[in-house]
Symmetry: C2
Subunit: 249 residues, 2 copies
């Protein structure tokens, strides 16, 4: 039986990530959340706040993957150009959302400040709004593209509201086990195990901790039965190599 595979691309928009000034933590959060909904992140891109980059990347991604999730660039300042770019990518005008404008106007401000704030009310024609539990800038959805904030707490709040809009496929489960041994000691056995379970992805992730090399073996796939069997085979391999299989930490 073939898995029903639903994929997503994550597009991280922001010069501050590319300069190394800010450590992105949005990708890992989005990947974990989507995985639980049956959506597999198939690629991620980090791109600068440059119109042609954003338009080109989003158009390539939305054609290739079931969903696209962007982060960053939806605030009120000159460097917040994501809404403009998404409109351009879809070939539609930017329009003022009466719903967002009404909300922004609730909090009083001088005219010039309000004018800046209202930049955040502009969304591509045809977009629908993403839930906004934090009251920050407004995220929106345009077809299969979800446009979210860059601030992690705000992004996470937005993402938590869109689960019912996502049509996921088969959910990928994982099992893992760790051992303090060199990968070369078990590489042949792992190759054999992988060959016997082609539908389960077996990854070996070496690490260096407490002055010792070790590796964590991670199995990912949709069949609980195969995962359980494969895990036993991997544990047996570790034991045969003279080490103890440890719970992954």
């Amino acid at each position: 039986m073939t898995d029903r595979v639903v994929t997503a691309s994550v597009v991280i928009i922001g010069n501050e990530i590319l300069s190394g000034r800010t450590q992105d933590i949005n990708l890992a959060h989005i990947a974990q959340r989507l995985n639980a909904w049956g959506v597999r992140v198939a690629e991620a891109r980090v791109i600068p706040d440059v119109e042609e980059e954003i338009v080109g990347t989003v158009n390539a991604a939305r054609a290739r993957f079931n969903y696209v999730f962007t982060t960053g660039g939806i605030g009120p300042t000159h460097d917040d150009i994501t809404a403009d770019c998404i409109a351009k990518a879809f070939g539609v005008p930017l329009v003022v959302s009466p719903e967002i404008a009404e909300r922004l106007r609730r909090r009083p401000a001088p005219d010039d400040v309000m004018e800046n704030r209202l930049r955040m009310a502009r969304i591509p024609d045809g977009a629908t709004l993403i839930g906004n539990p934090t009251g920050g800038p407004q995220g929106f959805r345009m077809e299969n593209v979800f446009v979210m904030a860059g601030i992690p707490a705000v992004m996470q709040a937005m993402l938590s509201t869109v689960g019912n809009e996502i049509e996921g496929g088969d959910v990928v489960r994982s099992r893992s086990v760790t051992a303090y041994l060199g990968e070369s000691q078990i590489a042949s056995a792992l190759t054999d195990i992988q060959a016997r379970y082609p539908a389960i992805e077996l990854g070996s992730y070496p690490f260096y901790r407490s002055e010792r090399y070790g590796t964590t073996l991670v199995m990912r796939g949709t069949s609980e039965k195969d995962l359980a069997r494969m895990l036993e085979e991997v544990k047996d391999t570790i034991i045969a190599a003279g080490e103890r299989p440890l719970a992954d930490k």
Copy 2:
């Protein structure tokens, strides 16, 4: 005077990053280190351990940017396919490096373990070796593509050895200042300042901390003189909005 701009793409190879299981910290480190050498990271991609993805991504990136830095997939297990893919991307065979093989053979091991270990001696024909201070898997350089480990400590050690091989351009410097105010309060003034300094990139990065919204204004460019002037203008803008300019934390 136009900046001499040298660019790089960072290609992060690894299913574990895309699944959200592992938090990538290599991009930020590479970006900061390259920036000091006068190389600007212009994009980053996170891609799965899939041959056609790696080959296609590396070939697109090496044609478009001055340098490409990859992380991940150079160990001895079945899921370590980066060396094979780089060879394929360049259309050259994989060859055994006598230098690496000699080093790997120094540490005794049973035949089958040694055979696995020797997988790490295979490099694309024509590649040169990257310094290997940790004794882990071997990184290599093929033309403008630097292939490094995924383990952060090992990657960092490798990267620290290649500075003299990089021909950088003008170095981008940055200044930053933080204020507890909403971006909308100063957005118009920032737009005006940005217009007066087109060669300096002015970013506004909002945050939510200690139950207050604030923003950090970051200026990036090659002219120290313009950076100093712009910083003063941004500080004056913050003061005019009734807040204090704070050192960026």
